[in-house]
Homo-oligomer: 677 residues x 2
């Protein structure tokens, strides 16, 4: 017998995050140290049951590593007690109790990942005038008679049409077998849900005996990472419940392009990618309707947005053409579909409206964000940016609107960064570096206290310091620049090692150590390069659109998406991520795509609006524009050499002008309240 290893490798699915842990480490701790979010309410006491995980085979085994349940310690007393009291799938373990004995692949079930995500893709408060595609109409029919032998369904269609003063109303054929029983059960009074949407033929899509008053709709933003779904009351326009979940397609590739490659290599697996996202949506719907005590059959309409790859995969369309020039969309116009044709478990007659895509890299999510922020309705020159693996950029005003996509890569999301991770508990999201001592202080997601505040030391063990997320990286690099730790060209200044032990040599480059508690978190030279490439791409895209419009002026900047909502605009400007703009004109707009989806759900006028916008918006393909490369190269420095940045210089002392340290975004308390509100 060989000596048992003292450490073991663990991979968490679906994120794919992996690490090496001491034998005996509880899985929950291992997960947290990797920034893998697993819900836990009871503080690891084996009581709440929220931290369930499953030990699975998979990719890990393929790599030649063993993977078996006996690599996990047996049930603890607490776990056995839990199992005796409450239902627990035999294949599941409580991760706070289960200790690592050997190499493992661990599946984090969707429900354990859910809650956290909601925080970052919540429904933004927005009053939307309700004028949805669905009308509930209660009618009373005469009993059938031999004198008037017209079919019950036809008499129903007529009565409903009369009540709505509509010319003609069709009946979803799926209802044909239900009509007679429904009428008889309701004593000849029934409620019909009628779908009317622009040029689409008006149609009865659902039927209830007697009176029925509940009509819900579903608005979903299918992100590559997160799917956010909102349940809305179609009559009042209120969003009654929201939920999010990881996009389970992550199994097939972390980012968009790796999923496209996966389908290209495994064409037979396309249906799996489609099924997996539809199943996740069906699970979310289950949660949403349960939240408000409704039924799936009360969900009568749905709107979906997503980037082109998500849009195509959701529809079962091979996204392979989106993987290379000319990035041809299979379909870009708005679509009207039946939810059942997409295997969605809503009311069987429910319709689906797909918001149109703008171009091969500028999807229905960008179109929905444009609907939400309405740059085309204002005189003000507005820049709308949604940052993901690609940055989708909309620039213009009511006279002219341009759209482009810029290949920022995933650095802003914490990927390709040495200590990077997604926004999850334990991630550093904010950071300040003292201009004199060059010591950092930071804040992690999941804890209110900054690292230099009372209470931090006591509480940090609850979440750990697991990495640095997108907004944290922006602030870290910007602060390093403001402190003179990096030059305008983005080189970590090795000479500063004289002033602080946090500047460390790594071969020919230097890094800055932020924390070294659970794990070491440093900003490496390569991290700064990744950020520079990303921000230069974004900036060059904006600049290109400014060229096309012939203007330097930008009155408003709207930063959409989770990332856009959490970065500090001043830091973004310090880095040259966004062009100069009055600081008061910059704001994070949260999940603008989701808001746009809700608008399209709740008011069909907004559907016509987004269709018109997509028709008229001018699409600029950065890859076709020689000026893009030029702008890109010029935008690598901090802050961009090409611009005077007058607004920024008014707001913050930049290192090349002064060493005075007017910290941007000074009132941290106020900002925190807004962000957590």
């Amino acid at each position: 017998m060989t000596e048992p290893a003292q450490t073991a490798k663990v991979v968490f699915q679906p994120s794919g995050r992996r690490g090496t842990f001491a034998i005996g480490t509880p899985l929950l701790d291992a997960a947290r140290s990797l920034g893998v979010y697993v819900e836990s309410v009871c503080g690891g006491r084996g009581i709440c049951g929220r931290c369930q995980v499953a030990v699975s085979e998979g990719q890990f085994a393929k790599e030649g590593l063993t993977s078996a349940a006996d690599h996990l310690a047996g049930e603890s007393e607490a776990e056995s007690r839990y199992r005796s009291l409450r239902p627990l799938d035999p294949a599941r373990r409580l991760s706070c109790q289960a200790k690592i004995l050997g190499d493992l692949v661990v599946d984090v079930p969707t429900e354990a990942q859910t809650n956290r995500q909601v925080v970052r893709k919540r429904a933004e408060a927005r009053a939307i005038e309700p004028k949805s595609a669905i009308s509930l109409v209660t009618v009373r029919l005469d009993e059938p008679s031999m004198e008037t032998p017209r079919g019950d369904a036809d008499r129903l269609r007529e009565a409903v049409a009369e009540k709505l003063a509509a010319d003609q109303i069709a009946l979803d054929s799926i209802l044909l077998p239900k009509v007679q029983t429904c009428l008889r059960k309701g004593g000849w009074t029934v409620t019909a849900a009628v779908h009317r949407d622009g040029q689409q033929p008006a149609e009865i899509v659902a039927l209830w005996p007697g009176e029925h008053i509940r009509a819900y709709g579903l608005a979903v933003d299918i992100g590559s990472t997160t799917i956010a779904a909102h349940l809305c009351d179609l009559a009042s326009g209120r969003t009654v419940s929201s939920a999010g979940t990881s996009n389970p397609q992550i199994r097939f590739g972390e980012d968009l392009m790796s999923r496209v490659s996966y389908v290209q290599m495994n064409p037979a697996k396309l249906p799996d990618l489609t099924r997996t996202v539809r199943e996740a949506i069906n699970a979310l719907v289950g949660k949403l309707v349960a939240d408000v005590g409704a039924e799936r059959s009360d969900v009568l309409d749905a709107v979906f947005v997503g980037n082109p790859v998500m849009h195509h995969l959701f529809l079962g369309i091979d996204p392979v053409e989106l993987g290379g020039a000319p990035f041809a969309l299979a379909v870009s116009d708005a679509l009207h579909l039946k939810s059942r044709d997409l295997d969605l478990d809503l009311n069987t007659g429910a319709n689906v409206y797909m918001v149109p895509c703008i171009a091969g890299h500028v999807g229905a999510d960008a179109a929905a964000a444009t609907l939400s922020e309405a740059p085309g309705k204002s005189d003000e020159m507005t820049l709308l940016v949604d940052v993901g693996t690609n940055a989708e950029i909309i620039l213009g005003n009511k006279d002219r609107l341009l759209a482009a996509s810029s290949p920022t890569g995933p650095a802003f999301e914490g990927a390709e960064i040495s200590s990077g991770q997604r926004a999850a508990p334990g991630a550093i999201e904010r950071i300040r570096i003292d201009r004199e001592t060059l010591e950092p202080r930071f804040k992690v997601i999941g804890l209110d206290e900054w690292s230099d505040e009372d209470g931090f030391a006591d509480k940090i063990d609850q979440v750990g310091v697991t990495g640095i997320c997108g907004s944290g990286i922006i602030e870290a690099v910007a602060e390093m620049y403001l402190c003179g730790l990096i030059t305008e060209d983005g080189v970590v200044n090795g000479a500063m090692a004289e002033r602080t032990r946090r500047i460390v040599a790594n071969g020919r480059t230097f890094s800055y150590l932020i924390a070294n508690e659970d794990i070491e978190i440093s900003i490496l030279q390569t991290d700064i390069r990744a950020i520079q490439l990303a921000k230069a791409a974004l900036y060059a895209g904006v600049k290109l659109l400014q060229d096309k419009l012939g203007t330097d002026r930008i009155d408003r900047i709207r930063l959409a998406g989770a990332f856009g909502s959490y970065i500090d605009p001043t830091y973004a400007m310090v880095l040259g991520l966004i062009p100069d703009c009055p600081l008061e004109g910059i704001s994070g707009v949260g999940n603008a795509a989701g808001t746009g989806a809700r608008m399209a759900l709740l008011n069909t006028g907004h559907r016509r609006e987004v269709e018109e916008t997509v028709r008229t918006i001018e699409k600029i393909e950065t890859a076709l524009e020689p000026k893009f490369q030029e702008h890109f190269v010029n935008a690598m420095a901090f802050p961009n050499k090409v611009d005077p940045f007058p607004n920024l210089r008014n707001a913050v002392a930049l290192p090349d002008r002064s060493q005075a340290t007017a910290t941007p975004g000074a009132d941290d308390g106020r900002r925190r309240r807004r962000r957590r509100g």
Copy 2:
């Protein structure tokens, strides 16, 4: 051990016909003696393999009778040789070889029943101006470019719309995943099948790379007994193949009302009735496309007609409301559906048009027959009759058109008649009784010779004399009346027993013996009563509509359906089945419902026409009309006392005026040629 029985009971499915046979009887002979049609080409030599049957468990076993394969003798030499040479399902036996050893339930497979049926529901020759719902449009697209990032599907829709000078064209969502591969495979040239039908949104329903020229449509008449399907070339309007099959719903009830009762008693079985008819249609389509070397995917449009119960069952609608007053149809208007929603295996995008129903007892089949015969387009007063379990009656001209259904019962189809059977080989279909000798001569289906002609005796063993079908019964009763064997009131005249041994006493009534070869075939007093009830119902219905129209005049009579095509109009008039009319104005119009279905398939103008007819036709409910009973009672006699029947009296010597025997329909040779042509 008990002595083996010398006879055994055998039940044939799906017809349910049963009989007792001597041990050792080949199954094929047993089937034929019961009028169960089993195809056989080789004359029982075990060569052709067409007579395959399966021994099954079933209803028989439920009745406590045993049922097992060992009740059948082992394979004959011929059968073993057949099995060694050609594929034969292990569960199948050649019925010409397999001999009965004990009680059995035998399943006659659909293919063994098929051919015979075609004869009786063939496509009538009819030139129909082709203007179908489907247009094939070949377009060439520009390759996609980054300058114009519109989706390929949207550019396709635009190109097709432009070519058709159409405002806007939708795309069946099922095609979304196909568009890009199709375009690339065709080198940017594709052919789209566009569905355009009145107010329906124009839609691309199918797509092929490059050029495609084949577009077929399907027209189906779903009868309670027989399903007849026609494959038509949508471009030329030609019917390229026709096929028929038994309606497998016969398992659930022989006639309409027993199927309705079955569903009422077994609501959970409704999907079985629906599935079974759809499967039969799918099998027919397979046969039709194979006939012409086409693919199922070439079938792009379909039209269905049927009586209200068949219509509802096909659509998956519970027909229970049609089983009792007020006979409320779930739906009567024309329907536009997707074939895939009906589980039909055509092109996945193919549409289905359901011809509208007129009333609870007057279905889409009657509407289609009305389209075919167009009484509403003529000045002439036309009576259109389709006889089945109910007689559907249309009367009128271009000024006014009335419809009714009359409860004839199944007597005209050979049911409820002691020696009655369906029209199948071995059934007596024509009969003449010598006015002097009172001896009958007859013709059976499957043999050209009359019973008194040379060759009959040699050949009759091939088919046997198994019973009497609808047209045979009409002629038998009419001839008996013309010979004075029955009185005007329908009583078999016992006094005639003095003149012929064929008049036989049965208790207090008498019967007439037609044949006694394989089995005894007689016309009993009860048979005559059944015919009287049926013909009185039909006549009373017609009379009621004449009352409503205020006319006695009838210029044309069109007898639709298999029955209507085979009865001799003069005999029908002798019986008082139809009212008096110039004999040259009477004709059988074959499967007028099927012809109407083909018209609706091939020309959308005909769809609007039948919709308009159904809207405007006046529906008369016989059950609500007190006059109906009065007419019914008055119509029991031969020929009806209430009418002078001047045309009939010109054509045939009726017994109450003369004993001279001017035989109606004298030129038998000419009629036979027409019928077999």
